[in-house]
Symmetry: C2
Subunit: 146 residues, 2 copies
Amino acid sequence: MAALTLDRFIPYRLSVASNAVSSRISQSYRKRFGLKIAEWRLIAILAEAKRMTPQALGQTTRMDKISVSRAAAALMERGLVQTSTNPEDGRSHFLSLTADGQSLYAEIAPAALAMEADLLSDFTPEESEFLETQLRRIEKAASDFP
Amino acid sequence: MAALTLDRFIPYRLSVASNAVSSRISQSYRKRFGLKIAEWRLIAILAEAKRMTPQALGQTTRMDKISVSRAAAALMERGLVQTSTNPEDGRSHFLSLTADGQSLYAEIAPAALAMEADLLSDFTPEESEFLETQLRRIEKAASDFP
DNA sequence: TCCATATAGTTTCAATTGCAACTAAATATG
DNA sequence: CATATTTAGTTGCAATTGAAACTATATGGA
């Protein structure tokens, strides 16, 4: 049996790296745009998707329905997101970006990409690609074995 | 400028992967041993280090002093950790595992390694190694640029 | 059709977290 | 050596989060 050293324990390394990145980024979103990460995620998805139900947003962003509901409420409050009726299901509704939401997105997107570029400035494209693949694999492994 | 797709945004992938792994693991620690991740981290470090101040524990585990203080209090409450005076600094004290703490560690360590092995069962040793390295690099990048 | 069950989304309440203030001891400065 | 400043650790309070309950609609049999 290999020895257990916290410093070399992958779940620990993953958590520490993720926290470092998230706190850096969330600080930036909050300061510059007044957004939490959950809110930013909805905006990013809606910018591409035009309109979506909260349920679909939750699946896409891997957020639970409570977080989606609260993030959407905050965005509607600020006039960045609007609802429309879902003719196929009366329990649900569609969410979409308002014009304000779209222009905010247009501002944030380059900032987000710049942050990512900063984080990965020492990585070759192959290394970034590989990291992404491995993150997907480990996520899948964690989700699979129940 | 590359397009922004949340799905291919590394900070997002990192966060999703980390959450998936953390929730899986924390569930297991909690169910089987009644420990939160912060508490488990202290135990893991103290098992190797014999005794340490809260301050040093915080640095080593990357936890803030509040979290260390609360985790230590919970562990002392359960008789898994004990304090001793720090002759070099009267504001501080040493924390160390009790005999109970040590035997709990002896139980958890193999379980933790087994979980890691499960998560990485599809990875070659080189791939795991590479992932670890990448995670350290990205963590450093996130901590560095202020 | 009527009832049982399931699903979408929100809300309430309790637990967790994070910040700021606090105590106490150490160090630096005049 | 007296006082100001810094550091270690804890605690109180406010904000955030998560689980369970709740409303409303949909679906799947008798």
